[in-house]
């Protein structure tokens, strides 16, 4: 099932299926936020934003609006 990366729960991991490259900074792509790579949600900031992900082994925090531009498929075993 395809969802936005912002809909993941803390601790859940997924595989990136698509990114909206017009809305995503190049820097994030270069950190490995690319289709096919692993992503997992590690932490959510106290007010629900930003979100702290592990993308392709990079530990990175992004804002909710950016996370919504990343489409993922949840890993099956969860």
């Amino acid at each position: 099932m395809q969802i936005h990366s912002s809909e993941l729960k803390i601790g859940q991991s997924a595989t990136i299926t698509a990114v909206n490259i017009d809305e995503i900074p190049l820097k994030l792509l270069e950190m490995g936020c690319l289709p096919g790579n692993k992503i997992s949600l590690l932490q959510v900031a106290p007010l629900g934003d930003p979100l702290y992900f592990n993308v392709n082994d990079s530990h990175v925090a992004i804002r909710l609006e950016t996370a919504r531009e990343i489409i993922v498929t949840k890993d099956l075993y969860q």
Partner: protein, 700 residues
């Protein structure tokens, strides 16, 4: 044998320990300066490789890739594209770290495409065992077409291997490790045909970004090979995917990770440090501890320095023959220098604490915690870094706002950062607080003076946030909101890195501020001890005349004479001229002179008062600046000059007014217009005047 200098560029992602490697290679043998025309820090140093060969090491700003998104990152590609630059490297050393090898290698593959001899450094090798990582170095060297130095800057291993590799750089391969142009063969083939003498990847960098590349006519390339912004970005994404494919394939055979050993220490600490309650409690706890320490702890060396300089001053006065020259030294120069030296404990401590917060990786967590809150005020979580490092100095703080992706958030951050309490305000606060706030303790351990100081810091932050809120309402700018921040793994700060950082920053600050203070104190001394008018030149006769019917002691006579002379000196005239403007704030003309002279730089305040009072005092026994200030009374009413109302009014004035020419200059550079620094100057100083006026009138 003649001395040969190999030019080496250190390149790497942020947080890979690049600075540690630089420090290990160069020791204290380094220079920090600026790149011409821009305010990006340029660090270089010399490393001895053998008896006759040395290397000039250039520490380039950290960058994630060669697709630059800030002027700091631009420096990297501009140097690497320009063969004519005097610093163009003979060999590039790309620094990566064991845990983030995959991502770090992206930059490495880009550098390889530039066909510069390249060495790959894999840092933090000491963590391999704990993380269950194994590397097949020989295989990786073949795949990546390079030499690999496996080092640990923390454990100081592998540095010699790296030095040997640099020494033998001519044997390194300059062949790219993958063929990136295969992402769109037709486009790149045309490009190659049009510019047969140029490196394809260089052309691509020139097309995709805004760099000055001297040897090529940008327009020519652009006009025939340009694409829409979206198309270019799509190609850049393809390129990135292509590079990662290569890296993944390489690491699949060259790297083994035992997942069972990978305990995520970082995630565990993060659960506490970014917790919705504990996170904030810890953050504010740390801040409070620092401020309490700052006042209590640094007052000991500060008092010592203050007294030492008073002693030196009186010693010089006694030893040298009386005269103009002696006065210049004992009354102008020595108090002036003392006014600089006294900063050292507090400044060093501030730089130390900021450096530790950054090095440990904690600062990124604060950014994460604060982003949503800060956005309500038009700021970014990343504004926390300038706001906190603004407590040391607004200049590096404003430069650190470059990391903020969104222009509106960045502009607001730049405009409000000078409200935070910088270290130049500290000596002003310190001396005023010690004059007007009693030395009491609450609950036996919280010093009242320390709390007042903390209150002033909070006031500065509060004002910064409040003006950000106003600016956010009035500034009509539409910017895309990008925000990406890496959360580096936690590290115990390395003593050497922190030490060198504190040393460099303190030195730069002291010499920078020192020159201004020294020059001003000499000028002030001259203006204070010379005058044009007949009154000044005939001072002794006038005073004798006034006292002719009274019997006065020699001391009283000299007091009157000095006070009279000062009032009729050049500086006295200037002070008197501005007195009507500052009288409502509770300042006399001497304070007025100090306030006006601190429009160049705040820290001049104490030095100026020291100089003015030294000129005005008669006593053989020199007392400290603080004692002199405490002893000052109004000549007619006998009320203390530095009373509570005046003190508070001064504190508030220094808290809010824009009194730093260097900050205005940096704001001009960073915003590329005079509009913003001018608005800053008038808004801040005007606000300071009104608040101080109200405070004095209410309290007096």
């Amino acid at each position: 044998m003649s001395l040969h200098l190999i030019k080496v560029a250190l390149i790497g992602n942020p947080n890979v320990g690049k600075t540690s490697v630089f420090n290990e290679l160069t020791g204290l043998n380094q220079q920090v300066g600026n790149y011409p025309g821009i305010t990006v820090e340029k660090k270089q140093g010399i490393c001895k490789l053998s008896d006759s060969i040395k290397a000039k090491i250039i520490d380039l700003p950290g960058t994630y890739s060669l697709n630059a998104s800030s002027i700091d990152e631009n420096v990297v590609i501009e140097l690497l594209l320009n063969k004519k630059d005097e610093d163009f490297p003979d060999v590039a050393v790309v620094i990566t770290e064991v845990e983030n090898l995959k991502r770090n290698l992206l930059l490495f593959t880009q550098i390889k495409d530039l066909e510069i001899p390249t060495i790959l450094v894999i840092n933090m090798a000491d963590r391999m065992k704990i993380k269950g990582i194994e590397l097949n170095i020989m295989l990786l060297e073949i795949e990546l077409k390079t030499k690999i130095a496996l080092i640990s800057s923390r454990k100081k291993t592998g540095i010699d291997t790296l030095k040997t590799m640099i020494l033998n750089y001519q044997n390194l391969s300059t062949e790219p490790c993958l063929n990136a142009s295969s992402i769109e063969p037709e486009y790149f083939n045309n490009l190659r045909r049009a510019f047969p003498n140029q490196l394809l990847y260089k052309l691509w960098l020139v097309i995709t970004q805004d760099v000055n590349f001297l040897n090529l006519d940008r327009k020519e390339i652009k006009s025939s090979f340009t694409k829409s912004h979206a198309d270019l970005k799509r190609l850049q994404q393809k390129e990135t995917i292509k590079r990662y494919q290569f890296i993944n394939d390489t690491l699949k055979i060259g790297q083994k990770i035992d997942v069972s050993k990978a305990s995520d220490f970082r995630a565990k600490i993060d659960r506490v440090l970014t917790h919705k309650i504990f996170g904030y409690v810890i953050f504010f706890g740390i801040l409070m501890l620092i401020f309490q320490f700052l006042f209590d702890w640094s007052s000991i060396p500060m008092n010592f320095i203050d007294e030492t300089f008073a002693d030196i001053s009186s010693f010089v006065k006694q030893q040298l023959p009386a005269g103009e020259f002696t006065n210049l030294i004992s009354e102008g120069l020595i108090p002036g220098i003392g006014g600089i030296i006294i900063f050292i404990p507090q400044i060093a401590f501030l730089f130390l604490f900021i450096s530790v917060l950054e090095e440990s990786g904690y600062m990124s967590r604060v950014v994460f915690l604060m982003d949503k809150i800060m956005r309500n005020f038009g700021l970014s979580g990343k504004s926390i870094v300038p706001l906190i490092s603004g407590t040391a100095c607004a200049i590096p703080a404003i430069m650190s706002a470059r990391n903020i992706e969104n222009w509106k958030e960045r502009l607001i951050t730049i405009l409000v950062t000078p409200f935070t309490t910088c270290s130049a305000r500290l000596p002003v606060y310190a001396i005023l607080i010690s004059l007007i706030i009693p030395e009491k303790r609450i609950f036996g351990f919280l010093s009242l003076q320390g709390l007042t100081l903390m209150g002033l810091y909070l006031l500065g932050f509060g004002m910064a946030i409040f003006s950000a809120y106003l600016l956010n309402k009035f500034l009509k700018l539409n910017c895309k909101s990008y925000f990406v921040i890496e959360m580096p793994s936690y590290k115990i700060p390395m003593f050497k890195n922190v030490g060198i950082n504190v040393l460099e920053k303190t030195k730069a600050f002291i010499t920078g501020a020192g020159k201004i203070i020294l020059a001003l104190s000499v000028i002030l001394w001259y203006l204070g001890s010379h005058g044009l008018s007949d009154d000044f030149n005939n001072a002794s006769q006038i005073i004798s005349q006034q006292n002719k019917d009274k019997i006065v002691t020699k001391e009283t006579y000299e007091d009157q004479l000095n006070a009279f002379k000062l009032e009729n000196s050049y500086i006295g005239y200037m002070g008197k001229a501005i007195e009507p403007l500052i009288r409502p704030l509770g300042y006399d003309w001497k304070i007025g002179i100090a306030v006006v002279s601190s429009f160049a730089a705040r820290e001049v305040f104490v030095g100026t008062l020291a100089t003015i009072y030294s000129v005005g005092s008669h006593s053989e026994e020199e007392s400290t600046i603080k004692n002199k200030m405490a002893a000052e009374v109004h000549p007619k009413t006998g009320i203390k000059i530095f009373n509570f109302a005046t003190g508070i009014s001064l504190l508030l004035f220094y808290a809010f007014a824009m009194q730093c020419i260097s900050t205005l200059a940096i704001v001009k550079k960073e915003t590329n217009s005079w509009k913003w620094p001018i608005i800053q100057l008038f808004f801040m100083s005007g606000f300071a005047y009104i608040i101080s006026l109200i405070a004095y009138q209410v309290l007096k």
